[in-house]
Symmetry: C2
Subunit: 375 residues, 2 copies
């Protein structure tokens, strides 16, 4: 794949608060974006999806993907956009046949459950994912410098969960059966996934993604010991293969392990700029563990309000936003030195049942209260 777009072909960035916070640089307010911010809670998203016919019809059409990525930015003063896509595009390109039945989660036509199926796995031809790279470039152009664009993928372990189970699971019985019975097969699958995810994210970066995020959505279901061996090690493998700069710009890398708070001390060693956290972890405690001192090394933190807060009235949303901001504490305020910073987000994707007005209340509260904290 050729790199058809250099940064010079894109408009200059107007709001760099998200990228600055990723790099632990001071910002005038705490930047905020929401996981799954382009989604079913927005009537305009549902209208576009209806036109597209299916989730994959939406994700594989550059114009539709661009349209829905920008929809939440029209409603809310968010500080970043995230590519509209799915965490499972890579195994789809491996030939497993991803689909989304209406009202259900992802499902693969083929699952990978035995030695023969694992042996067949290969890093897919990245041309099969061209629709993603084209969408990245199209979205980046359409953003016209308003906010930065985040690219993403599922982590090697999270991909493996779906590849073995064939769909979501309550107990991860099939993938863990393979992990405990045939760790050799699991390691082979994870190595292929790591190579594929790294190639995929690097091409998103070349296409215009200004930061990338690895969603380790199912890392938290693993046992202590198994997490380090089967999830963390392969996230580290992806990170080692990723570009850290493109067209003269640093490309921050975010790792989010849902339910990973217990292993934060070990995640501290990952070669990435930002760690995402879910709502179970206290941000002040996380900051003390990995945030680092001003002028020293450390990670920016992203998260972590419970998405269910958005079902409460505005006064309660404001109260909970303040609680999360204050749990992180006073952000880093020295423009000349790097130091602890916070990117506000949910601790998980936004619910499809969220009232859109609740998101307005949340974003407004983050911006206003985080400015108060800086005074």
């Amino acid at each position: 794949m050729s790199n058809t777009h250099t940064s010079s072909s894109f408009a200059a960035l107007q709001n760099d608060s998200f990228l600055r916070a990723c790099l632990r640089q001071a910002t005038p307010h705490t930047p905020v974006w929401l996981m799954r911010q382009a989604g079913r809670y927005l009537p305009e998203y549902c209208a576009t999806r209806a036109k597209a016919g299916s989730f994959m019809g939406l994700a594989t059409n550059v114009d539709f993907a661009t349209e829905v990525t920008l929809q939440p930015l029209e409603r809310y003063p968010l500080d970043a956009a995230i590519l509209f896509s799915d965490i499972l595009t890579v195994p789809d390109a491996m030939g497993l046949g991803l689909s989304f039945a209406q009202g259900e989660g992802p499902r693969f036509a083929t699952s990978v459950r035995d030695e023969a199926a694992v042996a067949k796995l290969q890093v897919p031809d990245m041309n099969k994912l061209r629709y993603v790279f084209d969408a990245v470039t199209s979205i980046r152009k359409a953003l016209n410098g308003r906010v930065p664009l985040i690219g993403f993928s599922g982590s090697p372990w999270t991909l493996a969960c779906y590849m073995v189970e064939g769909q979501g699971s309550d107990d991860y019985r099939l993938v863990k059966s393979m992990l405990y019975s045939r760790p050799d097969l699991m390691h082979r699958m994870l190595e292929v996934n790591a190579q594929a995810v790294a190639a995929y994210l690097n091409l998103q970066i070349e296409a215009g993604a200004q930061a990338v995020m690895i969603f380790d959505s199912w890392g938290g279901v693993l046992a202590d010991g198994a997490f380090q061996e089967f999830s963390l090690a392969y996230t580290a493998r992806v990170l080692a293969l990723l570009k850290t700069e493109h067209a003269g710009q640093r490309i921050p890398r975010i790792v989010f392990t849902k339910g990973g708070g217990l292993w934060l001390d070990e995640m501290k060693g990952l070669d990435c700029e930002v760690l995402g956290l879910d709502w179970t972890m206290n941000l002040g405690r996380a900051r003390a563990m990995v945030g680092g001192a001003v002028g020293g090394p450390g990670k920016a933190l992203q998260g972590n309000i419970d998405p269910n807060v958005l079902f409460a009235p505005p006064a309660q949303i404001q109260k909970e936003v303040r609680r999360v901001l204050e749990s992180f504490g006073t952000p880093h305020l020295d423009m000349l030195k790097s130091g602890p910073t916070h990117i506000f987000n949910l601790g998980h994707g936004i619910s499809q049942y969220t009232p859109p007005d609740a998101v307005s209340a949340l974003v407004e509260a983050v911006h206003s209260h985080s400015q108060v904290l800086r005074r």
Copy 2:
């Protein structure tokens, strides 16, 4: 309710390793029992359930409940029995109408979602739960002193989850909507639940339960801050109301918060003897935090192997058992002083798909390798 059975009416205990370990006293091997050890993975259980017609038909019939409680003890040299019942009997006695459709989880006919429904909640007449107390006495007699009998209930928060949602949930949207929107209603519900759970467990103790366990199965879905306020505080409330002795015997109290490893430092302050852990928490780290020194105060630890290990061949099961035993480290070996102890268990209920022979391999490995560790 009158206490019809004093300890003198029951046979003397032959295997007290579980109770000793709960009290941080040395034992010749690490005692082991399995959450949901009487369950669908056993063909003899399925046969009894078929006779009973339904889960509640089984649980409310003293003879059936006694029969299935003892079934796993006939197969495996387990060190404790646990009452066959459900964590949701208390809200059923409140009139919410518990049922279990074949192949599905629990469901309530009535759910509690608004101010009027919460206002109506009361501690139920404990006579409605007489079938449980009768089962406890019957099981205790049938055990005839082989191993101790554990009684149990869901925690106030876990009961509230089901009472509001009406069934299991992926996102706890309804119960968390109430928590964030109307914390006053949630607190009222939790106070009623705490009073009811305490009365219920005390009557199980009077009927013959030799230890009691509080299953906070859904504590781990709460945000930091919300966990302390809505789960931990009400578990503490139950503990404050529980008997700690009966008929001259100490009654150990076990608290298990699934996904609660992050809050272990705060759970350390609970007035209970044992903390249960799931597989995400390293036992050695937990021991350092809450296990205490020999001769000093501290908690025994219970857990925490991933139940999916039971889908691996015997050699892998043995390896994972050793890994869990060794993560705890050398157990307390001084018969005269209390000190850190470990009760082996799964980190969650056993899967219905477990091959029964795998349980034999696990129990045997726990007993034999824990004796090796004591040499």
